[in-house]
């Protein structure tokens, strides 16, 4: 297995892992959003979806563990690469001008860490319901109420919206970038690939934000 170690230790192998795990999580995020949007179909729709998920049993745990592994690898390798990147330039420029690098690409570490922080809060809040006794008191599958109660608090809703825009920013670079890392960059498709990231980023940010926005505006209650 020397080859595996050699590959994952390498610059390109490390990026591959970040790209592949990132792609897996994008898949999760898309699925998650699709589920969440059922909230617009009323309590029945979203609650039975949640119930269905819970009843997957062992399969759910496989998914959860898989997701945890993906997230961990993504974070560990991203940080490892980032530390190496910092070490590669011990003396900074007095003046540095960027010609091409997008704002999103330059803030990947920050948006990534912010998202990690938010995900931890998000899990504590919605999955473990450890942040408020009110949510803990709700029935197991009453996801609808949980959403509405939470997002009626502007602070929670605001934090959620901001985080989803950070997610969008992170993916606007990350998704286009993973094609390059995986070795797909062809002049014929360059513009298309370049716009997939920003497009998906905006779409996800708007999709996720629509729920707290709807709650705040009283469309969901």
């Amino acid at each position: 297995m020397g080859w595996l170690r050699q590959t994952t230790d390498s610059s390109i192998g490390g990026k591959l892992i970040v790209a592949v795990t990132g792609l897996a999580m994008v898949g999760f995020v898309v699925a998650h959003l699709s589920g969440n949007l059922l909230v617009f179909g009323g309590p029945q729709a979203v609650n039975s979806y949640a119930e269905g998920l819970r009843k997957l049993g062992a399969l759910l745990w496989v998914a959860r563990i898989g997701l945890l592994v993906m997230a961990t690898l993504h974070i560990v390798f991203a940080i490892k690469l980032n530390l190496a990147n910092r070490a590669a330039r011990p003396q900074a420029y007095a003046v540095k001008t960027y010609r091409r690098a997008s704002f999103a690409s330059r803030s990947m570490l920050l948006t990534g860490l912010a998202l990690l922080g938010y995900i931890l809060f998000h899990l504590a809040h919605f999955t473990f319901r450890a942040t408020s006794p009110e949510l803990a008191a709700l029935g197991e599958y009453d996801v609808y109420q949980m959403i509405v109660l939470s997002f009626q608090q502007p602070l929670i809703a605001g934090l959620y919206i901001v985080s989803m825009f950070l997610l969008g920013l992170h993916l606007s670079h990350g998704v286009s970038s993973l094609f390059q890392t995986l070795g797909f960059n062809h002049p014929k498709y360059r513009n298309l690939v370049g716009s997939i990231g920003p497009f998906l980023g905006v779409l996800l940010a708007l999709g996720f934000s629509s729920i707290p926005a709807a709650v705040l505006f009283g469309l969901l209650k």
């Binding site: 590669a88 001008t97 960027y98 010609r99 091409r100 062809h186």
Partner: protein, 258 residues
Amino acid sequence: MKLKLHVWRQKDRQSTGRMVAYDAPNVNPEMSFLEMLDVVNEDLTGKGEDPIAFDHDCREGICGSCSMVINGVPHGPSKGTTVCQLHMRHFTDGQDVHIEPWRAKAFPVLQDLVVDRSAFDRIIQAGGFISVNSGSAQDANNLPVAKADADHSMDAAACIGCGACVAACKNSAAMLFAAAKISHLGLLPQGQPERRRRAINMVKQMDLEGFGNCSNQYECEAVCPKEISVGFIARMNRDYLSSSIFSKETGSTSKSED
């Protein structure tokens, strides 16, 4: 016109450097940037101050010696241009001009604006060649190469090894340099027998030298004086990953930096 220069001065590899301000009072817009520095150096020498050291040689944009970051951009503001072919008409009277060396752990500063780029040579030593001894070649036209492939290979081969890609990258990555060589040879039929081995060994050496990783920001392409495409980096990624994961090739044991 007049310029205010802020130049990185550093006595030798061990010393710590600093930015020092100089006036460049008689700048002719037709001068090249290096000729402007020549004039400043003549003045400094006249005053008994050590002239500013910088690498330069052919002064026609092909040897890849010249290497300075001007106002935060390697090779300065003109696209697709080395410093030696950058002319002062691109600057304005009274402008502040910051001049710094390439900055990367793998490119230690030797003096002022002069850096040690031997890491690039070692990357080539690791596999940037086709193993064919002199005298053993067949007739050149026995091996047709599609014009599109030859042209594409030439696009990569145009790399002059100046290191601007490393200097521009926020991670000091040498991906564009390594990718250009891997692609130049990998796109030709002659380069196929060693293609996998080359990709594995060159990437391994590049990592050993202490260059950073790619964040796909494409600053390298933006400053490359030969405008080499980051498409070659994708190609290198493909070559490296497929070689590492799907082939029997493991590469040679790496040579340590001496």
